[in-house]
């Protein structure tokens, strides 16, 4: 079996994370999201939350760089995660990775298949309201806040813009068929492709 890496970028509320989880389960490969910092936190004997609160975030406030070193915690945590993704890819392991500019970090890796999941606003609001028990207005505000943060983070560290179809192999609207059916369709399509390539 050859190596394959599936990166899943996503809009907040689109169910991208759930789709990534289903794909990882079906392909029986590990999935990396914010858990990639847990290992580091355990090794260092620190609370993982100390790392999580700075991840997937563009640096804020005054920052200074010296010979490639940045004073920003967000920059160093991003670098830490990019190195984690690169190391995993270099090890030959197949995996699914959620966000973290993975499609940019591994853009020259032939094993990469990049996906971006978007959704209709109404469907996303409904999903966020249901999951977090919020009213529509609160759900919309939360969605806007998270997407703004993700976009700023992605566009700062990546060559291509967040959600721009030219930066991904597949862009999909999860609201059309629903999250689970989208995941199923992606699995069917990808497993056929990978089998044809002899990677599965």
């Amino acid at each position: 079996m050859g190596q394959f890496i599936i990166s899943v970028g996503r809009e907040y509320g689109s169910g991208g994370h759930e789709i990534a989880t289903i794909l990882a389960e079906k392909f029986n490969v590990p999935m990396y999201d914010r858990n990639m910092l847990d290992q580091m936190a355990e090794r260092n004997g620190i609370d993982a939350e100390d790392l999580h609160k700075h991840e997937e975030m563009k640096h804020r406030g005054l920052v200074r760089t010296v010979r490639g070193h940045s004073s920003s915690v967000q920059d160093t945590i991003a670098e830490l995660q990019f190195n984690f993704i690169r190391d995993k890819a270099a090890s030959g392991e197949s995996f699914v990775v959620v966000g973290r500019c993975a499609e940019n970090v591994l853009r020259d890796n032939p094993a990469l298949i990049s996906i971006f999941v978007r959704g209709d606003e109404g469907a996303k609001v409904e999903r966020v309201s249901r999951l977090y028990k919020l009213n529509d207005l609160e759900a919309k505000a939360k969605m806007f806040r998270h997407d703004k943060k993700r976009k700023a983070y992605h566009n700062y560290y990546s060559k291509m813009k967040w959600g721009d179809s030219r930066g991904y192999d597949f862009c999909v609207n999860s609201s059309l068929m629903g999250v689970e059916a989208t995941a199923e369709a992606l699995y069917e399509m990808l497993s056929k492709f990978l089998k044809e390539k002899g990677q599965l």
Binding site: N44, G45, I46, D50, L51, R64, S70, S71, L80
Partner: protein
């Protein structure tokens, strides 16, 4: 008037761009330097003489640039080539030392001598950071010290964050003690004609007093955060590999380092200028490194050297147009001629400015200001020079962006999964910086006034 306005506009724009950190700093200063050459010296002043005086290339070809009997200013205005050449030489030497494994060996040896006890390592590494930074640039010191600290922290199960923050502070403090410890000191020394020993007996003494006080302060404020008592590791079970891969290279690099220290300590007696010492040390390093010479030369941070060239041209524009004299007169007026107030202004303004902006352009700008102040108020120039050096060197410790060592330390820790946020950093190091600044101010008042 056009020249003065353009000099100020270009200077302010350069500072904003440096703080913004959007573009490489050397591009910023070189472009601003080019603009200053065109608009200040060319269109504004129409003076090729002022431009040539600022570029100051002809000075390099004078024998006094390399050998100066007695104390004299190696460069009075414009591009400070002595600083640039000296820094280049030291960068070559440090690359050679790093390549030979000198720093790793030294840090681990000291940890072993501290019996792998976290609190002892904490104190020992503070002293080591200060001592090494007296002779080597603080970026290199912190790069190695922070990496070794993290390695030891994982083995000995202690929290490296307080240790790294204390190392950063002490590296900046150690840098203030000598002429070659921090770039502002080299610029001050070469511009005003002070020797290595002048710095040691002035800023060095203040630095030593401050180091003792700060070690005691950090010991009491940080030791509780070092290690959970349940995580204690039996030192006898520790197996850290302290080995030298290439003994010949190691001994040569140690010898070259010792030679650099001797040449610097004695340069007022021998008459060898820092530019000469820089070139000599680089030459010895390159000859000794043989086939690796090209690799060492390639690793030198030329961007920083280019940054200096552009910076000196922009500051030269301010100096030639007389803007800095206006600033000096303003300081004299605000202080009402009171020497205590004047020194306090220089110390605290330098410190606060250096906490947020690069201390190199700040000190380069302030040198002509204090020269002018000395001429107009009669206050001893050297007293102001030591005050400026301490203010710029120590003030940089106050924030994560204040000095290069801070950035490198924070980044090294973060990349290994030990985040140091602004809040964490400032909570520990702002009080420490204020304590040292107060100690320094009292020392300056007692000793010089």
């Amino acid at each position: 008037m056009f020249a003065e306005i353009m000099a100020i506009v270009i200077f302010v724009a350069m500072f904003i761009m440096i703080v913004w950190d959007r573009f490489p700093k050397h591009y910023v200063t070189l472009i601003c330097g080019a603009l200053a050459s065109i608009f200040v010296f060319g269109i504004g002043m129409r003076s090729s003489e002022a431009f040539l005086e600022t570029i100051a290339v002809q000075g390099i070809f004078k024998p006094s640039f390399w050998y100066a009997a007695g104390e004299s200013a190696e460069q009075t205005s414009g591009v400070n080539w002595a600083t640039i050449i000296f820094l280049w030489g030291m960068m070559v030497m440090v690359e050679g030392m790093a390549d030979a494994g000198f720093f790793d060996w030294l840090c681990l040896k000291i940890a072993k001598l501290a019996h792998y006890e976290p609190t002892r390592i904490f104190v020992a590494f503070m002293v080591l950071a200060a001592v090494l930074s007296m002779f080597i640039d603080s970026i290199t010191v912190i790069l190695f010290l922070a990496a070794v600290t993290i390695r030891l922290a994982r083995t000995l199960k202690f929290n490296p964050i307080p240790v790294i923050m204390a190392e950063i502070f002490c590296a900046n403090l150690g840098g203030s003690a000598t002429m070659c410890g921090d770039p502002p000191n080299i610029i001050i020394g070469t511009s005003l004609g002070y020797s290595f020993s002048d710095f040691v007996v002035n800023t060095g003494v203040i630095g030593a007093i401050s180091l003792v006080i700060i070690i005691v302060y950090f010991y009491f404020t940080m030791r509780g955060k070092l290690q959970n008592p349940n995580d204690k590791v039996d030192p006898s079970t520790i197996d850290v590999d302290i080995k030298i891969d290439n003994l010949r290279e190691f001994l040569i690099s140690t010898f070259i380092f010792a030679l650099a220290v001797v040449l610097l300590v004695t340069h007022a007696m021998t008459g060898l200028t820092v530019a000469f010492i820089g070139v000599a040390i680089a030459a010895v390093t390159l000859i000794a490194s043989g086939r690796k010479a090209l690799k060492l030369l390639k690793r030198v941070d030329y961007f920083t050297l280019l940054f200096f060239i552009g910076l000196f041209i922009v500051v030269g524009g301010l100096e030639q147009t007389g803007v800095l004299v206006v600033i000096a007169n303003f300081i004299a007026k605000v202080s009402g001629g009171n020497v205590h107030v004047m020194l306090a202004i220089i110390l605290w303004i330098s410190a606060i400015a250096s906490a947020f902006i690069d201390n190199i352009p700040f000190s380069a700008t302030m040198i002509p200001v204090i020269k002018s102040l000395a001429a107009t108020t009669g206050l001893d120039l050297s007293t102001m020079a030591w005050t400026l050096a301490i203010g710029t060197d120590i003030g940089g410790s106050m924030t994560p962006i204040g000095a290069s060592a801070n950035v490198v330390g924070i980044s090294t820790a973060g990349k290994e999964g030990y985040p140091i946020s602004w809040a964490t950093y400032c909570k520990e190091l702002v009080p420490g910086t204020i304590i040292v600044l107060i100690v320094s101010m009292i020392s300056i008042y007692v000793r010089y006034l």
